[in-house]
Each structure stands twice: as structure tokens, then as C-alpha cells.
């Protein structure tokens, strides 16, 4: 390295040595990534392609054993069946409402708490740790506890409602489609699963917004304060623009995850009381009806919807709006 200009004689061997080092890096890089590629390829990429093929087959679960590639066919019947089936559009609407409200709610809660915990105070570390509990709690434990809390016979919520809030009868939160409160219909079970998801997912938004807040340059804010900006003005004109990027990314991720969420809804309501989202329908087609074709078709439709969303986000990023 040091004698680069002067050493002219041994150019050939050195350049060969450089190339072999390069080649070695190339080889090692590929070797080291290979195990991961194999696993991810086998469990994600291949199935992802397979779901498109399966959606074009007229196939039941019983047919799998004797299935051979020669039986492959192409039919759009599954899509026609799925799109015209009873309750599909209702489920699509429920999914959208669920994903949208959950996204807004968990981002809002995360943002408010990140701002509230921004300045240090005694016990902030402990508070932050406790706020992360819903995120860490195993989902089955969380849904079991929530179901017990909301139980009509001995749940704390109904007991409090009847004892202190003057409810005339216990509410079966997880199966009730809707009740009228002061003439306004309220979707009970759907609200519960949305609240649960906001509760479960706000800590992640909180963490990411907190991390981003720490990187906001201090002098920007101080300058605004010197100019006489009030806290809300500082937030609106200084912090929010800085947080826009991370908020947009979180919104995208949260929407995608909520849109495809099966476990939480299934464990809480099983899809009852107007909470049947498309993911629950996929499970029902697959397990209850044992129809691989329609389950795959539903999956493909979900994937296309999410892909469209992703393209939209990337275009926004490219235009520099986020």
C-alpha cells in the first residue's frame, strides 16, 4: 500500500493476490448467506409462489396425498367463488376498518407517550419497561386475560359497569355485534378487537418514535423556543416534520400487520360478532372447509391488496413526500 507509486516491478503477482482476496470474499459471502437463503427460500419464497399456483387449482385437502404435477390445471373458479361468496365484501370492509383504526390508534398512542416520556423524571426507566409489557406478553396469555376481564359472569369490566356505571345487564363483549348507545350503533366486538390490537401494538410505535426523537437536533427546537413558539407549535412545526418518515414507515408496517392479523382476532372472538376479517376466512376455508383452492385465492387477493399499498408507499417515498 505504502509503496504504491514506486514499486513497479511486482505488479503482476500483487494484482493476482488482490483478485484472489476479492474472490475469496465473494465465495465466503455466498457461503455464509447460503443457510439463511435455503431456509427462507424453502419456507417463504417457494410457498409464496406455490400459493399463486394453488389458487388456480380446484383442490381439496383430501386430494393432496395423491396429487402430482401432472394434475395441474388453470381455473379461475376459486376467485369467482370467493368474490361472490356470502360475507366476503363484509369481511373485506371489516379488515379495512380494523387495520386502519388500529394503525391510527397505535401510532397516536405511541406518539403521545413518546412525547410524554421525553423529558427525564424519576422512575422513567421503570415506566418505560411497564409500557412495553403488552408487546412482550405472549399473545395467548394476553387474549386469555382480556377474555376473562370481559367475561359476562365474573369479569371485572362487567362487574364495574354494573356496580358503578349503572349497566342493567352484563355485556357479552366478545360475541355482541352491536348495541345502541344514545341512538348511535356501536360495534361492540369489533371495537374490542381493535382496542386489543392498539393496546398490544402501541409499544412498538412508542419505541421507534422515542428512538427517532432522540436524534432530533436540539438547537432546532431551542431556536423555535427562543422565537417564542409554544410547545404545541414546536411540536407542529419542528418535531412533526422530523418524525414524518418514521411515522409513515410505522403506519405502513402496522397496516400490513393488522391487515393480515389472524391470531389475535381468532383467539378473542373466533370471528364472531362482526369481527370476521379476511385472514379468519382464509383459515376457515383451509381448515373448516378443507378447500385449498379458495383459501389460496383469498390469500392471493390479500397479497395483491398489500402489494398495491406497498407500491403506493414507495412512490410516495420517491416523490419525497415522506
Amino acid at each position: 500500500m505504502s509503496g504504491r507509486g514506486t514499486a513497479s516491478a511486482p505488479t503482476l503477482p500483487r494484482s493476482r493476490r488482490v483478485r484472489t482476496r476479492r474472490e475469496r470474499e465473494e465465495l465466503h459471502g455466498r457461503l455464509l448467506v447460503a443457510p439463511t437463503l435455503v431456509v427462507v427460500g424453502a419456507v417463504v419464497l417457494f410457498p409464496f409462489l406455490a400459493v399463486f399456483v394453488l389458487s388456480l387449482q380446484d383442490m381439496r385437502l383430501i386430494d393432496i396425498r395423491g396429487f402430482s404435477p401432472a394434475d395441474l390445471e388453470v381455473t379461475l373458479d376459486n376467485f369467482a367463488r370467493v368474490l361472490s361468496s356470502a360475507g366476503f365484501w363484509a369481511a373485506a370492509r371489516t379488515t379495512l376498518v380494523y387495520a386502519a383504526v388500529t394503525t391510527v390508534g397505535s401510532l397516536l398512542a405511541g406518539l403521545v407517550l413518546a412525547l410524554a416520556l421525553r423529558r427525564p423524571f424519576a422512575g422513567r426507566g421503570a415506566v418505560r419497561g411497564l409500557l412495553l409489557v403488552p408487546y412482550v406478553l405472549p399473545v395467548v396469555a394476553a387474549t386469555t386475560i382480556w377474555s376473562t376481564l370481559l367475561n359476562p359472569q365474573y369479569g371485572a369490566v362487567n362487574e364495574i359497569g354494573q356496580r358503578f356505571l349503572g349497566w342493567s345487564a352484563p355485556i357479552n363483549f366478545l360475541t355482541t355485534h352491536g348495541i345502541d348507545i344514545a341512538g348511535i350503533p356501536v360495534p361492540v366486538a369489533l371495537s374490542v378487537v381493535i382496542l386489543f390490537e392498539i393496546w398490544k401494538s402501541f409499544p412498538l410505535a412508542f419505541l421507534f418514535i422515542t428512538a427517532r426523537l432522540q436524534a432530533v437536533p436540539r438547537d432546532l427546537e431551542e431556536a423555535a423556543v427562543v422565537d417564542g413558539a409554544s410547545p404545541t407549535q414546536v411540536f407542529r412545526h419542528v418535531l412533526l416534520p422530523q418524525l414524518a418518515g418514521v411515522l409513515a414507515l410505522l403506519a405502513l408496517l402496522r397496516f400490513i400487520w393488522s391487515f393480515q392479523n389472524f391470531t389475535d382476532i381468532w383467539l378473542l372472538t373466533g370471528g364472531a360478532g362482526g369481527t370476521e376479517v379476511v385472514a379468519v376466512r382464509v383459515y376457515e376455508e383451509l381448515v373448516t372447509r378443507a378447500n385449498i383452492g379458495t383459501a389460496s385465492a383469498l390469500g392471493v387477493l390479500m397479497t395483491l391488496a398489500l402489494a398495491g399499498l406497498l407500491v403506493l408507499y414507495l412512490r410516495m417515498v420517491r416523490k419525497g413526500r415522506v
Binding site: E25, E26, G29, R30, L32, V33, T36, V39, V40, A42, V43, V44, F46, V51, L54, L61, R65, F67, A109, L113, L117, R119, R128, L130, V133, V136, L137, P138, V140, A141, T144, I145, W146, S147, Q153, Y154, A156, L207, F208, R212, Q214, A215, R218, E222, V226, S230, P231, T232, I256, Q260, T263, L267, A279, V282, L286, I292, V300, M302, T303, L306
Partner: protein, 320 residues
């Protein structure tokens, strides 16, 4: 992480006070206004802040506490008075014993579910971390063809809907006879956790100075030795945090356990076990005891490694 934040806050606060004092000085000609927008907002937000924090802590930790209290009360008491707290002498731990005991002994088999889950989660952790260590090292230190493609590909994995993948995986595994096998679960959990652990490890590996590795290479270490003897020890806290993260995901997973193991009670994982018990008429204290029992290990682990986990997960957020 908290220290840095605290330092920044300490710097910010006096500055802010000075600034408002200075501003008041500027305006002194226009007479003192006792309730200008700034003071009003600071006051209101100050009160709101405390209320919000208190409510959030209650909402976050409250359900867990509720479950813990319920788990030590006899079921009859719970039905008679759902809101009462048991006196210290009345604490009844029999629900835990009943949840843990094997079915043959009149219990619900939670101890066995836990053994299964530990096996699955430990294997997943070991294999996923091993794969990600190699992959993350390559991504950080080596230039090779398709590196960026590979990185983007792993990110994309993160966005594929789990329920959509469940359909072909269920078909595939039925076909090759892996339904009902824990091996299949381990492989799926690996694929699900590798993208995030790669991402986390990459952040920790970047903190290892490249010079140290080069020195080791000069001393005659080959690539594997550089990784195991130099990079791993230096990034050990990060590797531990990543391992804990993978363990948590594998321990908590429900959908694939439901799809593949539901017919085989002997092999239920903890998540599946608790969820199935909830469908039967199992007394609430036993269910709560089970929920607390499967929660304690993960929450304790998370709180212990909180700092590392949080900094690993949010590493990218600071860049915006």
C-alpha cells in the same frame, strides 16, 4: 440509551427556561400578560402528561396484574366477588399446581407444554442465531455479488402475510408428512425470525471495529475463526439480545402450532395448550395461572435485556 437521553434532556431544559425568560424580557414593553399561550400550554400539558403516563401504565400493566391476582384466588371467590383482592393469608397457589400437573394426575399438562415449547424455542434460537450471525457478518464485512438483493429479499420476507404463507406450508407439510412434527415448526420459526435477527445483528456487528478483525486475519485466523473468536465475543451482548428476541417469538407463536399440532395433545406448545384449555370449561384461576406461568419467563427476560433489545430493534429509526 437512557443516559444519553437524560443528558440531552438536562441540556435542553435550562436552555428552555432561559429562552422563555429572555422572551419575556423582549416583550416587557408591551406589558406582562399573565396567561400567554406559552405559559398556558406548558401548564396544561404538564398536567395532561402526568395523567397520560398514569393511565398508560395502568392500561399496560393492569391486565397482567389482574391475571396474577385472579390466579391466586379460589374460583368460588372470583364468582362471588369479581373485584375483591385476596388477603395475604388467603393466597391460594393450587391453581398453578393444577395447571402444571399432568392430565393423569388431574391437572392440565402445562409443564409438558412448557417442555415442548422450550425444546422448540431453544432449537429455533440456536439455529436462527447461527444462520443470522453468518449472514449478518457477510452483510457487514464482505462485498459479494447480490449482497443488496439478499438484504432487500430478507426485508421483503418480513412483509409476507403469515396467514397467506400458512396455506401452502400446510399443503407442503401435509404432503411430505411434517404435520405434527416439531421439526417443521422449528424451520418455520427460523424463517420468520431470521430477517429481524439479521437486521439486529447487523447493527451490533457494525460496532465491531474492522481493524480488530484485520489484525486477527494477519495473525492467521481464517474467516470462521475471525467470526467465532473476534466478532462474536465483542458483539456478545447483541447476540444474546437477538437470541432472546428469537426465543420470545418462538415461545409466543400460535398460528402454525395450531395448524400443525392441534390434533396431537401430547405435543401442544404452551400457546396452543392455553388456547385449547380456554375453549374447555377450565376454571378461570387455572387459566390465569397458566397465562402467568408462560408470561413470566419472557417478560423477565425482556425487562432484563430491555436496553439491548430496544436499541437493537430501533437501530434504524434514528436515521429516519
Amino acid at each position: 440509551m437512557a443516559d444519553r437521553h437524560a443528558a440531552a434532556g438536562a441540556r435542553g431544559r435550562p436552555g428552555e427556561l432561559d429562552a422563555s425568560a429572555g422572551r419575556r424580557g423582549h416583550r416587557s414593553g408591551t406589558r406582562r400578560r399573565p396567561l400567554d399561550r406559552h405559559t398556558l400550554e406548558v401548564g396544561i400539558l404538564g398536567v395532561l402528561r402526568i395523567a397520560v403516563i398514569a393511565a398508560a401504565v395502568a392500561a399496560s400493566a393492569g391486565p397482567l396484574l389482574y391475571g396474577a391476582v385472579l390466579s391466586v384466588r379460589p374460583f368460588g371467590d372470583v364468582v362471588a366477588d369479581p373485584l375483591a383482592l385476596p388477603a395475604l393469608g388467603e393466597v391460594d397457589l393450587s391453581a398453578y399446581a393444577r395447571a402444571m400437573a399432568d392430565e393423569a394426575a388431574g391437572g392440565f399438562g402445562l409443564a409438558r407444554f412448557m417442555r415442548t415449547s422450550v425444546t422448540v424455542a431453544v432449537w429455533t434460537t440456536v439455529l436462527a442465531v447461527a444462520c443470522s450471525v453468518l449472514g449478518a457478518y457477510a452483510a457487514v464485512r464482505l462485498r459479494f455479488f447480490g449482497r443488496d438483493t439478499v438484504n432487500g429479499f430478507f426485508l421483503a420476507v418480513y412483509l409476507f402475510p403469515g396467514i397467506v404463507l400458512a396455506v401452502p406450508l400446510f399443503v407442503l407439510f401435509s404432503r411430505i408428512g411434517l404435520t405434527g412434527s416439531l421439526v417443521g415448526l422449528v424451520i418455520i420459526y427460523m424463517a420468520q425470525t431470521i430477517p429481524v435477527s439479521l437486521y439486529m445483528l447487523r447493527g451490533y456487528f457494525q460496532a465491531v471495529p474492522a481493524g480488530v478483525e484485520e489484525a486477527a486475519e494477519v495473525d492467521g485466523c481464517n474467516r470462521v475463526q475471525v467470526i467465532t473468536r473476534v466478532v462474536l465475543p465483542m458483539a456478545l451482548p447483541g447476540v444474546a439480545a437477538t437470541g432472546l428476541y428469537v426465543f420470545m417469538i418462538a415461545w409466543n407463536e400460535f398460528l402454525f402450532a395450531l395448524l400443525f399440532l392441534v390434533d396431537d395433545r401430547q405435543r401442544w406448545t404452551v400457546s396452543l395448550g392455553i388456547a385449547r384449555l380456554a375453549d374447555f370449561a377450565v376454571p378461570a384461576p387455572v387459566l390465569m395461572a397458566g397465562s402467568i406461568a408462560i408470561t413470566v419467563p419472557v417478560v423477565a427476560g425482556f425487562l432484563l435485556a430491555q436496553r439491548l433489545l430496544v436499541s437493537g430493534l430501533t437501530a434504524g429509526a434514528e436515521k429516519g
